[in-house]
Each structure stands twice: as C-alpha cells, then as structure tokens.
C-alpha cells in the first residue's frame, strides 16, 4: 500500500501545477503577461541588488538628466535616478496589490460567506455592503483617506475597504448557489457543524473563482493607488511609488518626458498583464461562477 501511495501524491502535486498553468496554454499574450509579472515580482524582491543608485539619493548636479548610459531612465528634478526609483516602485506596487487582495478577500470573503449562509445576519450585513456600494470607488477611498494619515498601511486599508464590498457581493452570490447543492445537504445530514461546512465543504469550491477575482482586484488596486498618489492623498510623498513619481514630475514633463513615460508604462504594463492573466484564468473557470467575477 505504501509503495502505491507515494507516486499518486506526486502526480497530484504535478497535476496541481499544470492545472495552475493550464489557462495559459495557447494564449501567447497572457503568457507574456505572466512572464512580465514574474519579472516585476523579481524586481520588487531583489530591488536593492538590482538598482545602480539609492532611490532617495539626491544629486543636484545631475537634475533632469536625459536617459543615457549613466542613468538608464534619466533623473528627476532632484537628480534622483529614475531607473532605481522605478525598480523600488515595483516593490510598492506588489505590496499595495497583495495588501489590498488580502484585506478585501478576508474581510469581504467573511462577510459574503456568512451573509449567504446565515440569511438572517446576511440581510443586515448585505444592506451595509449595499450602502457602501452607493459610493463610487475612488470617492469612497478619497473620503476615507481624509480620516487617516497618509501611509502605506492606510492606503492598503482604504483601497481594501473599497474592494471588500465587491468581494462580499460576489461571494454572497456564489455561496447562495453552492448552499443548495447536494453535498452541502449531505454534510448537514451527517451532522457536520456550520463552521466546518463553510470552511471545509463550501470554501474549497470557491478557491479558483477567488483567485481569479484576486487578480482583477490586484490590477484595479494599482490604478486606484496611482490615482490616490497623483491626487496627493495616497502614499507619503517620500516613498518612491510609480504614482508618486508621476505626481511629482507632473510640472516637469514638458522638459523631461521620460519622467512621464517610464513609471506610466510600468503601471500600464503591470495592470494590463494582470488583466490578461485574470482573463485567461476566468475562461478556464467553472461555468457556474464565470458571470460572478467582476473583471475587465
């Protein structure tokens, strides 16, 4: 028996990996997108070893230097190296994206699941979600930011709250569909508790749609964070994020167009890649959940 079990486990493991990559089979653009995201993650993690300069080091003599051999992406109005700042910007992008996904999926996921399963609590909780959804996304984020100090964690919380409502609504719909499935009835009949039904019988079925939703939230969060930075209400100005770089260099762009082009392209390509990946992943989803996902 032992001899047979090990290879089965191994094939399951490899099957899991190939299942994860399955959506990208035959989709060149989505595969390129995935590769780009891997590259960005690499930059984010190894930023200190990749960057030729300190992203905060001011070099007044070299201010507004054009892109060239010494400064690949040129320098800004303080003489800071744009390339190094862009690489560190990837770090912020990753942090904001993952943070927002974490906040919205855990809080929104909890609200959505509980609301759908316990309909009485749900009727109250989902009304609250409805009310919050009456506020346009960026506006809600702006208003919340007036209540908080500008910081990384607050930006994550604020954008996270915005997508918590969407996630709650989506999960609510999906759990309502699953609740009436036979396997849930079977679990109830065999005396399984509510928590266990939710976590061990319903949640595992929702992992793939949640992952797809996460990819879209990740993409939207980038755009929201960049907009908040641009308006001067996001990350503190001293942090090199792509949005802050664009916000600061705004008045110099007529003289130094590279300050607009590089951080902008990084945002666009990252958001585009994430959308492509999400789109590819959605196409290989269980058809029951396809329409629930709020993507591009």
């Amino acid at each position: 028996m032992m001899v047979r079990e090990t290879p089965i486990l191994e094939t399951e493991k490899t099957r899991f990996l190939s299942n994860l990559l399955l959506p990208f089979r035959g989709r060149i653009l989505a595969s390129i997108g995935l590769a780009w995201l891997v590259l960005m993650a690499f930059f984010a993690i190894f930023a200190p070893w990749i960057t030729p300069y300190d992203p905060l080091a001011i070099e007044p003599v070299a201010r507004l230097t054009e892109p060239g051999a010494t400064h690949f992406f040129g320098t800004d109005h303080f003489g800071r190296d744009t390339f190094s700042r862009c690489i560190y910007g990837a770090r912020m992008a990753l942090l904001i994206g993952l943070g927002t996904v974490f906040v919205s999926l855990t809080v929104g996921g909890f609200i959505g699941m509980v609301s759908a399963y316990f309909t009485r609590i749900g009727s109250v909780l989902m009304r609250v979600v409805d009310v919050l959804m009456a506020f346009p996304a960026l506006l809600l984020a702006l208003v919340l930011m007036t209540l908080f100090e500008r910081s990384v964690i607050n930006t994550i919380i604020v954008i996270g709250i915005v997508y918590t409502t969407t996630t709650a609504r989506i999960l609510y719909g999906m759990v309502l569909k699953l609740k009436n499935e036979v396997f849930v009835d079977a679990a109830i009949c065999s005396g399984v508790g509510h928590t266990s039904i939710l976590l061990r019988h319903i949640l595992p079925n929702l992992i793939s749609p949640l992952l797809v939703q996460a990819s879209f939230i990740f993409a939207f969060a980038q755009l929201q964070a960049a907009a908040l930075d641009f308006l001067g209400l996001g990350l503190p100005p001293e942090i090199p994020s792509w949005g802050n770089m664009l916000s600061e260099s705004r008045i110099y762009v007529t003289r130094a167009s590279w300050l607009l082009i590089y951080p902008g392209l990084l945002i666009i390509l990252s958001v585009f890649s994430m959308n492509l990946v999400g789109d590819a992943a959605r196409d290989s989803l269980d058809p029951r959940f396809k329409d629930d996902i709020a993507g591009v």
């Binding site: 653009l29 009304r127 609250v128 409805d130 009310v131 009456a134 506020f135 346009p136 996304a137 960026l138 506006l139 702006l142 208003v143 930011m145 007036t146 209540l147 993409a219 755009l223 960049a226 907009a227 641009f230 308006l231 001067g232 209400l233 949005g243 664009l246 705004r250 762009v253 007529t254 167009s257 607009l260 902008g264 945002i267 666009i268 958001v271 585009f272 959308n275 492509l276 789109d279 591009v296």
Partner: protein, 315 residues
C-alpha cells in the same frame, strides 16, 4: 410595470437614508470637536460656542441628524469654510463644467464603444476581434491621469492644436467654441469607459447570438445583416443599458482625477481641493449630491431595463 416602479423606488429609500447617515457621521468620525473642524483653524472659542449651539452639537446625535436632514431638504448643505459661501453654490459653480464634461464623455463612449464592440462580435474569433478586444483591455489598464498628461503633451504642448487646461464658461466670450477646452478631458475620461463598453457589447452580442430566436431568424432565411442588427444588436443593447449605472460610478471617480489633471473648474476638482483644504462641509455636500445622483441613475437604469426587457419585472 407600475407596481415594479413603485417597489423599486421604495427600495431605494432605506439605502438613501443609510447613506445620508454615513455622510452625516463622517464629520463626527474626524478626531476633534465638529464645530471647531467646521469653522477651520482660524475660529475663536466664541465662534465655536455659537456654532455648537446653532448646530445643536450639545444635543443627542439623532436630534442633530434630523436637524441636518431638515436643513438638507430645504436645500441648505452648510457653509464652505474656505469660500464662506453656501456649499450648494460651490457645487452649482462646478456643475456646468462637470455636466458638459460628462455629456461629451458619454458621446465619445457611445460613438466609440458601441460600434467597435459590435464589429468585434460580428467578426468573432478573427484577428479583428482579437485586436479590438486586446486594445480595449489595454485601454482599461491605462491610468486616467497618465493618459491626460500624455494627451496634453502631444496635442497641447507638442502640436498646439488644443488648450491644455482650464475651461471658460460657454456663456462667456467664445461661446460654444469654449467646448474645445473639454475635448481632451472628455477623450481622457472616455477611453477606459469606452473600453469597458466595447467588451460588454461584444460579450452580450455573443450571448444573444446563441439564443433560440436568433437561430429561428437565421433558419427562416433572413439576411445575416438584418439578423445581426434587428435580432442580435438591439437585444444586446439592453445589457449595455443596464451597465450605464456602473459606468456612471466609474465616470465620477475618474472625473475627479481628470478635472485635476486639466485644471477644470468642475465638481471633481472641488472635491480634491476641499479634501486638501480640509473644507469638510463641502466634502460632505458634494459626496451627498454624488451619492444621490448615483442612486437616481441606478434607479432610472433599472426602470429603463424593465421597460426594454419586460421579462425582468416579472421575476
């Protein structure tokens, strides 16, 4: 239909009340004394005491809320700390710019989004479809402010064809030609939203193409163009109409950014500036107006939807 209309309107009321409570409480969520916050940094203790009494801040919160609501219904949204004029007139000042911006953006969205989406759907699976769908997703990935800055760089700074910022009213010198100031902003604002409409039109046309009545139309020998237009396109538009509520919310959010990029004297820029100036009464007032407007749009969309597709109200 009438019953559905009444039911739908009544369903809006609780949400509206809850939202108004939230907006009312906003001023109490800010750390500090609300009267001091409302009067700004320059206020004297006497002024604060007067406003505390006037607003009834010494009374229970629900009394304050009711008083605020009564004022609201009489059109009194409070006074701007920065401008020292009623909030309503601050909002009214921005209404022309934002209104025309929204109108021109909608025109772009409809003119660009619907035909391109329809072409992508009829050419489903071909390279035309792949390119338009890809381009639409790309457009939805571009930050609004970045597109705005880039358009300014090309069309205003580089080519000098269009003004880069500001908007003089059409009632001032220049008349309707002043609308050219809104050409770049509206294009900026339309791009990501047109992209969403392209994808939506395409998706819903592909959905409708699978319906039985389309197969019937085809099998009775109708011309493919007639089927595409009369049976598929027109029914697909119902789903598009339903998405306009969502588009409105996206428009409002992005208008805040666009108006800031182009320095337009609209409501969106007023929100940002009020936040930076800590002009809380204006923030409160504008948010309230936008939320109410958003709910009205959603209500109208739902009603239009049930009128376009009578199957909806039967559910």
């Amino acid at each position: 239909m009438l019953a559905f209309t009444i039911k739908r309107i009544l369903a809006t009321v609780p949400t509206l009340i809850a939202a108004s409570m939230l907006i009312f409480l906003f001023i109490h969520l800010i750390p500090g004394d609300p009267a001091a916050i409302l009067l700004g940094d320059t206020a004297t203790p006497e002024e604060i005491a007067v406003l505390t009494k006037q607003m009834g801040l010494d009374q229970p919160v629900y009394v304050q809320y009711l008083k605020w609501l009564t004022n609201l219904l009489q059109g009194d949204l409070g006074t701007s700390i920065f401008f020292q004029v009623p909030v309503l007139s601050v909002i009214a000042d921005g209404a022309e710019t934002s209104g025309f911006l929204a109108l021109m953006t909608m025109i772009w969205i409809i003119v660009l989004g619907i035909p391109i989406g329809a072409i992508a759907a009829t050419k489903h699976g071909t390279w035309i479809d792949q390119i338009t769908s890809g381009a639409a997703m790309f457009a939805a990935s571009v930050p609004t402010f970045w597109l705005g800055l880039y358009l300014i760089l090309i069309f205003a700074v580089g080519l000098g064809w269009l003004p880069s910022s500001g908007y003089p009213s059409i009632f001032e010198e220049g008349g309707l030609a002043n609308l050219r100031y809104l050409l770049l902003p509206s294009l900026t604002l339309a791009a990501p939203n047109a992209a969403l409409i392209i994808r939506l039109v395409r998706a819903s046309m592909l959905d409708v193409q699978r319906e039985d009545y389309v197969r019937t139309a085809r099998s009775k020998g109708l011309h493919p163009v007639r089927v595409a237009y009369k049976h598929v396109f027109r029914n697909a538009l119902i789903a598009v109409a339903a998405a306009f509520g969502f588009t409105f919310a996206a428009l409002v959010s992005e208008a805040v950014v666009t108006e800031t990029v182009f320095s337009l004297p609209g409501i969106g820029r007023t929100v940002v500036q009020s936040i930076l100036r800590r002009d809380y009464p204006v923030i409160q007032g504008v948010i309230l107006v936008i939320v109410v407007l958003y709910m009205v749009v959603n209500l109208l969309v739902d009603l239009a939807y049930s009128w376009l597709d009578p199957r909806v109200s039967l559910k």
